[in-house]
């Protein structure tokens, strides 16, 4: 009787000891925390869980820390949304300032007075042709002032209905830009165009003169045309250029930089600073351009919105739900 009791007790102590140790073990070891750090850690997790229930939307960052982390705020306010499109364009001579010079009467060319690239005045003699009709020589003159673009004639040629010269006034050029899809619908004459040369990046700003009525079948694009003053003479017809068309400058009551917007919980939010607290405010966004976006709803004018390192605040708010997952 006694024997059995004692034996049982010994076994029980050893057993419960080992088994107990086994059972409690992993919970103490998880999640990869040192035993020392564990107590602290647990407390931390509880805190987070609490936050999680209330869908965390705000966080606290001390001013000094915010400063050193590069967090910057600026009051939200009114501004202008520049609706811009980057397009490609081609420089062409302006139709009315381009002339093909033809000999009025066929006949041999007796003299050529102008070469390619030469600047000519209106009425200046370009060539002398002996008319087959009158057998007298007559001068072929430049119909407009401009630069000789092409000279398709040499002395002794027989001038016929083939143009002898092409003369164009290059002091201004057309920029033809191709507009695709929806852009063609809302781009109108008068919109600002900034044209940049590919070679050196020099830019000129001008406005759209007109949008041509037709559409190119293959590319379904429409041409918009602007006039460009060729001040330095380096704008050459035939050259491709980069252009930015400013479709509209819409003044809006409230806008924020794009860098202020972060996705949080499936919605777009901005972070508003209140003292050392930052609150995520879901916002309804309107029109946007390359730098700014209009805010229709969610914040008030004058709210201090985080415009730099807004990701850091998003990260800080979201960190409660972050876990190690490998």
């Amino acid at each position: 009787m006694m024997v059995r009791h004692r034996f049982g007790l010994a076994a029980a102590v050893l057993l419960t000891g080992l088994a107990g140790c086994q059972r409690e073990a992993p919970s103490a070891a998880a999640p990869a925390a040192t035993a020392e750090a564990h107590g602290e850690h647990e407390e931390h997790e509880e805190h987070e869980e609490h936050e999680e229930h209330g869908e965390a939307t705000r966080t606290h960052i001390a001013a000094a820390m915010a400063q050193s982390s590069g967090i910057r705020t600026a009051p939200a306010g009114a501004g202008v949304i520049h609706d811009e499109h980057a397009v490609q364009g081609l420089l062409v001579p302006i139709e009315g300032r381009y002339a093909r010079v033809v000999a009025r009467f066929p006949g041999p060319v007796r003299a050529v007075r102008a070469g390619i690239g030469e600047t000519v005045k209106a009425g200046q003699t370009l060539a002398v042709v002996e008319s087959n009709v009158s057998l007298s020589e007559y001068a072929v003159t430049a119909p407009i002032a401009g630069t000789v673009l092409a000279r398709n004639v040499t002395v002794g040629d027989l001038a016929s209905d083939r143009p002898l010269f092409e003369v164009a006034d290059l002091s201004a050029l057309w920029v033809d830009v191709h507009l695709f899809g929806a852009d063609a619908q809302h781009i109108r004459p008068g919109h600002t165009v900034t044209v940049a040369r590919l070679a050196d990046g020099a830019t000129v700003t001008t406005t759209l003169d007109r949008v041509l009525p037709g559409t190119a079948t293959a590319s379904q694009s429409t041409i918009a045309r602007a006039t460009l003053r060729n001040t330095d003479g380096d704008w050459r017809p035939g050259a491709a250029v980069r252009a930015r068309v400013s479709v509209g400058e819409s003044p809006v009551e409230l806008l924020v930089p794009l860098s202020a917007i972060q996705p949080l919980g499936g919605r777009d939010v901005v972070f508003v600073q209140e003292g050392e607290d930052y609150e995520a405010r879901p916002v309804k966004l309107g029109r946007r351009d390359a730098q700014h976006v209009e805010v229709l709803d969610g914040i008030e004018a004058g709210d201090a919105v985080v415009i730099e390192q807004s990701f850091l605040i998003k990260a800080d708010i979201e960190k409660s739900s972050v876990e190690h997952d490998d």
Binding site: R6, A10, A11, V13, L14, L15, G17, L18, A19, C21, Q22, R23, E24, A25, P26, S27, A28, A29, A30, P31, A32, A33, T34, A35, E36, A37, E40, H41, E48, A62, M65, A66, S69, G70, A86, Q88, H178, F180, L198, G214, T215, A216, T217, A218, S219, Q220, S221, A240, P263, A290, F311, L312, I313, A315, K319, S321, V322, H324, D325, D326
Partner: protein, 1069 residues
């Protein structure tokens, strides 16, 4: 069960005495073997608890989680099915990477496993997308990352061309100078690189210029490919000589690249330089590295499985010193993490404990035996047994570490020898007294043989029993098993060696050297002990019932006290360094993470105890540890304790301070652990929670929804703690969906759009630039400024097919001539911001989402039953989806089950052994009663020191049971001998108890003192040993006191009953 004079044991002892020189020689030989073995013993800080696994990493540049899963992970996973000894496969697919891990049964040969996996990979290769190459992960375990170094340039160092060293230059040096040299170091299986940028040559065409010329991105790629080949054209024979013909066409420098002709228009060649910039560019990297607040390049060497980590790190350090000579001036390769330090510290702790323990044992022996030579002979058993153990460890593939060497108690080991020597001394003394002269040689041999044989059985059985109690440890499986098996093996080896020595070496040496006058006088200490013990014993024997009852009460009280002990798993080894893992929100960019990491490092450096900080952000080149850019491993290297402002500050406090410092910085959550610990946890992976509810199925949203419901249900169940759902989504994605209708309008294919976006954003490798051994990818990609501009993406020109057949449009020939040959991307595709899957996990070939929970304050079985019932009732699982239960609870249940069989069996075996010794169940029981009595001391010692119950402590209790039995054995055996010689029961008990005071005290003292240094050491690794040592010391003290006091009383009580009955029976007849 009396010892027959010709018993095997006696014959062995007599043989040993007769051939004593041979014995010495043999012992010497075995010792030498041990020394040799020692040089070959793999030494590490902790046992390797990684399972047998093969990782298949397939870098899939540009692939998102979904594509990586569909195109790469799935085929590989399917191919692995049905491998021999395969336990399970799991996989993860994320941006740019597919990782499949095949876990094999424990004990599977790693090379066999890898070969099998390799064969299957070979078969599946053709089914993978072109250009993707699955790689097997390095042959390394969780302990494999033994050495890390940074390649960095002095701030004022300049390249030969006068510019400062960039992160890319350093990376190039690492890739082509440092790494190749370190990879050849013996024992290193691979070297991993993280940080900097792999050097690439970027050809960045201006899209406007391309469209102007009507040249597509792919034309650029093709032109480069066509102009960058060398050709061997066989040989020709000329005048009897043989000339090899080769046509070199490779690009040799960037100018040659720029001059490649794309097209010829009106006789004018259009070259790459006309449409694109060519220069060094940055790869789209997946990881970065920082050190002390600046970007560096980090290298990590992986140690081959089974190598000696200490030796390999030392060799690596030497090799790195060599490498330094080949680096340009101003650039250094600096060690930032070296496992040697930890191993040395840990081994130093173990060695210190062992040496101090051994010294204490020797002192005790000397004090109690009063004979220097006898003490030295006993002490000699220590190194000899140790060397034999080392040989066994090398043969058995057990590495020397904290766990295997840490549990050795020399006191325990010499117990057998102590008993023998003590008896020999006593018998020598008696014989000398009887004869009144020094013994002759023959007499001495005879007495030695007799004295040894007299106690050899109890002592052998005692050692046997101690060995037996370690058996349940072998029943542990999984991580616990891997952790404690080495300990059990080592202890059993050591005890076995000691047993063999006390049978052969001890008698031989005693016979040889204990000539002359042997003073077996009782010294002062023993006389004092005896003076105290005698009256106590007398009192106890007078009131045996009371004594036994008091003892029983004590045991019961202890049982209750034990409930109050805290518990923990295995006390973690203090690695001396801290690993801070910032977890940032998914979708954090590498650049953002890097900036935050630099802030973090600067902050952590301000902690006075911190010597340096370095971090790995994201995934390294070898993706053995695939972390997203939002996670970093921050290694916080601490100064040596002496340099701390307060050298006595507890580590826990410092860790807390570090965490607080880190918490000051916004945007991250932190997990604090230690380097080896973290790596091991990652590798054994998966789920380290009590309960894991796994949902398997196809659709990620459905999986997430079901998991969400399960999470909610689980949270409501009593006892649930830390309920967490694995996040699967949350990664922001820019999805460019080709618009089929628009594509049709323009006559484009979806692949045209994909190719444009792929090349523009991701880049296309068009070939390689060779510089000697070094080779660098030639990548065609959009200029960085355009890539970063999300708005500009819509303006990306998609080249239109050239129409040979003019149709409607020919009517407007004028227009067509001027019409562009491209259309902007936004006309043919929708660009959407989406939240996509972050990482897709699969297990055994199916998508899986896990909800984990720990169980607190409730029994696991009940919790599981409740959980299953509630989930069945409340969570509706759609068709094609199913739920599985897993987690450590399975392992716990099976372990408890195993232990519930093994522990009683072991106890039965011990009891059986005792029964064999005594041939009496009563005596066996009396001796056995020492076990609970010993446990009381262990429990109180833990309570006293405030140490929680852990597996370490559990092992201590196991050892304790053995020692307790040994004590009882010695005493009861002697009492029985006296009774057999005809003494009355009371006299036999009294004389026996008193006569065995010395050996009992001695074995107890040596066993407990042997552990004293371990219990109080504060060095590296001490925290793992402390609970064990504390339990043993406490237990032995209580066990010894109780053996001396309770045992005689109990024996008397038990035998008095029998005697009375015996008397009654006698009168009846």
């Amino acid at each position: 069960m009396t010892t027959s004079p010709t018993s095997l044991l006696e014959r062995i002892v007599r043989f040993a005495i007769t051939h004593r020189w041979l014995m010495l020689l043999l012992t010497l030989g075995i010792g030498a073997l041990g020394v040799w073995s020692f040089t070959r013993l793999p030494i590490d800080a902790t046992p390797d608890i990684t399972n047998v696994q093969v990782q298949i990493n397939t870098p899939a540049p540009g692939y998102s989680a979904l594509e990586a899963e569909q195109r790469v992970t799935f085929p590989i996973e399917t191919a692995l099915a049905g491998l021999a000894h395969l336990e399970t496969t799991r996989s993860l697919s994320k941006y740019g990477l597919s990782q499949v891990t095949a876990v094999f049964e424990d004990g599977t040969d790693i090379y066999f496993a890898r070969q099998q996996v390799g064969e299957r990979i070979q078969q599946v290769r053709s089914r993978l997308p072109a250009g993707l190459d699955p790689d097997l992960g390095p042959v390394a375990t969780g302990l494999g990352e033994i050495f890390m170094y940074s390649v960095e340039a002095a701030p004022d160092a300049r390249k030969p061309d006068g510019t400062p060293w960039s992160a890319m230059d350093l990376r190039t040096l690492q890739d082509w100078v440092v790494r190749p040299q370190l990879r050849t170091v013996r024992g290193v299986t691979d070297v991993n690189t993280i940080g900097g940028y792999e050097r690439q040559i970027h050809i960045t065409p201006d899209p406007t210029k391309l469209t102007t010329y009507g040249i597509a991105l792919r034309d650029v790629v093709e032109a480069i490919a066509k102009n960058n080949e060398n050709l061997g054209a066989g040989y020709i024979e000329r005048h009897g000589g043989q000339y090899l013909v080769r046509v070199p066409g490779q690009i040799t420098d960037l100018d040659a690249l720029r001059d490649i002709v794309l097209d010829r228009r009106d006789g004018v060649p259009i070259r790459i330089r006309d449409v694109a910039d060519v220069g060094e560019g940055q790869e789209l990297r997946t990881g970065a590295a920082t050190e002390n607040g600046r970007e560096v390049v980090l290298g990590t060497t992986f140690m081959l499985i089974g190598e000696n980590s200490r030796a390999v790190s030392q060799r690596t350090a030497q090799a790195l010193a060599q490498v330094q000579k080949s680096l340009p001036e101003g650039v250094t390769a600096k060690t930032v993490y070296d496992r040697t330090a930890l191993v040395d510290r840990t081994i130093a702790t173990v060695a210190k404990n062992l040496i101090e323990g051994a010294l204490l044992v020797i002192v005790v022996l000397f004090l109690l035996l009063g004979n220097v030579r006898a003490a030295l002979i006993t002490a000699a058993v220590i190194p000899l047994a140790m060397l034999m153990t080392l040989t066994g460890m090398v043969r058995g593939g057990v590495s020397g570490n904290l766990m295997s060497l840490g549990a050795l108690d020399f006191g325990l080991i010499v117990d057998g020898a102590v008993i023998i020597i003590e008896n020999c001394l006593r018998r020598f003394g008696e014989a000398q007294q009887r004869l009144g002269r020094v013994l002759t040689r023959e007499e001495r041999f005879e007495v030695t043989a007799q004295a040894t044989t007299e106690v050899i059985r109890p002592s052998l059985f005692g050692v046997g029993i101690i060995t037996a109690v370690y058996v349940p440890i072998f029943a542990l499986s999984g991580v616990e098993g891997k952790m404690f098996h080495p300990m059990a093996i080592t202890v059993v080896l050591a005890l076995g060696s000691a047993m063999a020595l006390s049978l052969t070496f001890i008698p031989a040496v005693v016979a040889l050297s204990l000539g002359g006058r042997v003073a077996d006088h009782e010294n002062a200490i023993l006389r004092a002990a005896r003076r105290v013990y005698e009256p106590v014993l007398r009192t106890v024997l007078r009131a045996p019932v009371l004594t036994v009852a008091a003892a029983a009460l004590l045991v019961v009280v202890t049982g209750f006290a034990a409930q109050r002990l805290g518990t923990e798993f295995i006390p973690s080894l203090d690695e001396g360094d801290v690993l801070v893992q910032p977890l940032r929100t998914p979708g954090t960019s590498l650049t953002q993470s890097l900036a935050m990491q630099i802030q973090l490092e600067k902050r952590l450096q301000q902690v006075p105890e911190v010597a340096g900080v370095f971090s790995k952000i994201g995934t390294a080149e070898i993706a053995s540890d695939p972390m997203p850019p939002s996670i970093a491993d921050t290694y916080v290297m601490l100064k040596p304790r002496e340099q701390w402002p307060n050298p006595r500050k507890p580590k826990a406090e410092l860790v807390e301070e570090i965490e607080h410092a880190a918490q000051e910085l916004p945007g991250s959550n932190y997990e604090l652990t230690q380097p080896i610990q973290m790596r091991t946890n990652e590798l054994i992976s998966g789920v380290r929670a009590d309960v894991a509810i796994k949902v398997y199925g196809d659709d990620l949203d459905t999986l997430a929804a079901v998991a969400g419901k399960i999470e909610a249900v689980t949270k409501k169940i009593a006892g649930a703690a830390d309920v967490k759902r694995e996040p699967i989504t949350g990664l922001p994605m820019l999805t460019i969906v080709p618009d089929r209708a628009a594509l049709a309008r323009f006559g484009l294919n979806a692949s045209d759009v994909q190719a444009v976006v792929g090349t523009a954003i991701g880049g296309t490798v068009a070939g390689q630039l060779f510089e000697g051994d070094r080779r660098f990818d030639l990548v065609v990609r959009l200029p960085e400024a355009l890539r970063q501009d999300a708005a500009a993406l819509g303006d990306l020109p998609v080249p239109m097919p050239v129409h040979g057949n003019a149709d409607e449009s020919s009517r407007l020939a004028d227009w067509q001539a001027g019409a562009p040959a491209y259309i902007p991307l936004r006309e043919v595709a929708r660009i959407e911001d989406q939240i996509g899957p972050n990482q897709i996990n699969r297990e055994n070939g199916k998508r899986r989402v896990v909800v984990t929970a720990n169980v607190r304050g409730r029994d696991l079985g009940g919790f599981i039953a409740d959980l299953q019932q509630r989930i069945d009732a409340e969570v509706k699982v759609p068709a094609g989806y199913w739920i599985g239960y897993g987690g450590t609870f399975e392992q716990l249940q099976s372990a408890s089950q195993r232990l519930s069989i093994v522990v009683p069996v072991t106890l039965l075996v011990i009891f059986g052994l005792l029964f064999m010794v005594f041939g009496s169940a009563r005596d066996a029981f009396v001796v056995f009663s020492g076990v609970p009595l010993a446990l009381t001391g262990g429990v109180f010692a833990l309570l006293l020191r405030g140490i929680p119950f852990s597996i370490s402590a559990g092992v201590g209790f196991i050892a304790l049971s053995g020692v307790a039995v040994l004590n009882g054995l010695v005493m009861i055996a002697f009492i029985r001998k006296l009774r057999d010689e005809g003494d009355r029961l009371e006299d036999a008990i009294f004389d026996g108890a008193l006569g065995r005071l010395r050996p009992v005290l001695m074995t107890a003292l040596v066993a407990s003192l042997g552990f004293v240094p371990m219990a109080f050491n504060v060095g590296a690794g001490a925290e793992v040993q402390r609970p064990l040592a504390t339990v043993v010391i406490g237990g032995i003290v209580s066990s010894t006191l109780l053996t001396l006091v309770v045992l005689p009383a109990l024996y008397r009580l038990v035998h008095a009953v029998r005697n009375r009955r015996g008397t009654r029976e006698a009168t009846a007849t």
